[in-house]
């Protein structure tokens, strides 16, 4: 006699759940519901500092937009998910964003490897994805029409530093040293491609080192023997800090060139010590160095709200949300409409520069040239990327 009663209660439970779901679906269809956005990134683990930095920028932008009444009367609602450096989990999260949360766009990821796993999934569901930090060239080479990367890839900054070194520093002969990983190799490729197209410029020596190398003095001596005007370093901190320190330890007084993501970070300076001084970097942001009103306003607002100047990924996180808001405002909160608007984004003024999306989804924007001096970064100028 128990079974029917049990059966009845199950049916009742299912009906109740179905009713609640129905209600929710009905609610979602009304016009003033928030517009949902999925955020994926590292909130734990080694990449957490980057994830948290980006998230702060995203939150700041969302707060400002919602305070001002949202987009066409609809507020933004960002669902933050820690992708946990697990590509399986990241892919599942996007599926949930797509099917259950019904997001209109995805922001993220921080890690290159995870983003590479995510791109085909957002493409399949037709959700526009704005990557936050992931730097590998692969991301925009996979043929997805839905991926955009507002954060400049290493190829952009290394191309820029090549142009700057030849144009402004009047250097002609370069030697390069790179990490044997995707970022290092792509960086040097971009540098070499840009530099060697310029008249009279030569890359006289190139070395690629395994990622666990710590003693570079022998190799640096060999590079010194090729007598270059400058040494281009394409390796992440802390190892690049060792390279730079050892350049000075063998008494080599050569101009050092690098990129913000690798060498504008404190970890690099800690390891390199005073040897980092006078190294010239192409960086993606310096507060107050982009002169257009949007960038100036962001820097002032952030300073007022947080009591300290904004950081690179905070500015880019802020821009991710705002370019998305811009795209929604131009058209409608529909995935394909947003994609089409983003694809046409050109000379868009943001907190971290003026953005134009290229056909593959990569960004073209000017870099800020900076240099280390007495333990601090010293912005030199905004340099136009051709």
């Amino acid at each position: 006699m128990r079974r029917p009663r049990f059966f009845v209660s199950i049916v009742a439970a299912i009906t109740a759940v179905a009713a609640v779901l129905q209600l929710q679906v009905a609610k979602a269809q009304t016009g003033d519901e928030p517009i949902k956005i999925g955020w994926l990134g590292a909130l734990s683990g080694v990449l957490a500092p980057y994830g948290l930095e980006n998230k702060r920028g995203v939150e700041f932008a969302v707060e400002a937009i919602n305070k001002a009444g949202g987009i066409n009367g609809r507020k933004l609602d960002v669902i933050y998910v820690d992708s946990k450096f697990d590509s399986g989990f990241a892919v599942q999260s996007i599926q949930r964003f797509a099917l259950q949360d019904k997001v209109v766009a995805v922001l993220g990821d921080i890690s290159s490897a995870l983003t590479v796993a995510e791109v085909p999934v957002t493409a399949r569901f037709g959700i526009p994805q704005l990557a936050s930090l992931a730097g590998t060239p692969k991301i925009t080479a996979m043929g997805s029409k839905f991926i955009f990367r507002p954060y400049p890839a290493v190829t952009l900054t290394y191309g820029a530093i090549a142009g700057y070194a030849v144009d402004k520093l009047k250097l002609k002969r370069f030697a390069t040293i790179a990490y044997n990983d995707e970022g290092g190799l792509a960086s040097i490729q971009a540098f070499t491609d840009t530099a060697t197209k310029l008249p009279g410029v030569q890359v006289v020596a190139s070395e690629v080192v395994p990622v666990d190398t710590k003693e570079f003095k022998g190799l640096l001596t060999k590079l010194r023997g090729s007598n270059p005007d400058a040494l281009v370093v394409a390796a992440a901190a802390p190892v690049s800090g060792l390279i730079v320190r050892q350049v000075r330890e063998i008494g080599w007084d050569v101009q050092l060139l690098g990129h913000g993501g690798y060498h504008a970070v404190q970890e690099f300076r800690d390891v390199a010590g005073p040897a980092a001084d006078s190294m010239v970097l192409a960086t993606t942001y310096a507060p107050g160095y982009y002169k257009h009103p949007e960038a100036q306003k962001f820097a002032t607002d952030w300073q007022a709200a947080h009591g300290q100047p904004p950081r690179d990924l905070e500015a880019h996180g802020y821009d991710q949300v705002n370019m998305l808001a811009w795209a929604i405002k131009q058209g409608s909160p529909d995935r394909t409409a947003i994609r089409d608007k983003l694809a046409g984004l050109k000379d868009w003024p943001g907190a971290a520069g003026v953005y134009t999306f290229l056909e593959n989804g990569d960004v073209k924007k000017d870099v800020v040239i900076q240099s280390w001096k007495d333990g601090k970064l010293l912005p030199i100028e905004v340099y136009g990327v051709k």
Binding site: P210, T213, T221, G241, D270
Partner: protein
Amino acid sequence: MQMDLLQQAIAGLTTGSIYALVALGFSLIFQTTSLLSFAHPQFMMLGGLFGYTVLARWQLPFEAALIGAALFCGMLSVVVEFLVLRPMRARRADENSLAVATIGLGIILMSAGMLLWGPYSLPYPQASAPVSWRLGSLAIDQKSVAVWISAVAAVAALQFFLRHTCLGIAMRAAAADPTTASIVGVPVRAIAAFSFGLSGALAGLAGVLIASLYYASFEMGAAGLKSLCAAVIGGFGNLPGAVVGGLLLGLFEAYATVHLSAQFTDTLIYGLLIVFLLVRPQGLLGTAQRKI
């Protein structure tokens, strides 16, 4: 060009001394307890991190970091021997199971290092810019010289200790034949703990020296695999062999990096290891028929 070759030799000697210091620990444990301890490089890593705390947090002099790290790692090593290896031996675990257990131990120690010190690279505070002696275009930095001297001094001291002191001879006896040794009154279990403590202390010293050259971090134990290569090339279990193997491997790596290919140096190093195992498995200074 000649100067460049010398500069490369200096770089090779530095890397080699590091391999030698760690290889020495591998060989010491093996010679005194017949155990291949994969956890050894992780004690080196903890020594490097502990040295960071002594220097950067407590602001004590470098000597204090060396002594502190040696004591810390030595004691930790004894604790590990007592909690893990001794109970396993008591349950008649053979050398292979013990070696596998040390792989697990190494991973646990590495995670502990990451939990306690964070996933950061922690360079030691530098009082001044790096000091180098100059000889024309040749530069020799003082910290590297300190590491070379330490490697040679460590092997000399250990060799003297094992051959000419009562305790040292007892250690070797306990390793060669535990049963007979215990019959003649050698406290075999206490000796095993002491050997482990000694190798831990050596690892602690090595960790501080290595971190002073580069930086301390939870993943610095990764250098251990090449040190194991060095120990095998020199003759596994042979202490002077560990140093000779370490220095040779360091020089080989330096010249291979510059003159063959930096990108494929690791391939060449492990290739060399395989050649050695095929042609001269006992290593350079090892004796042909060693009981394992």
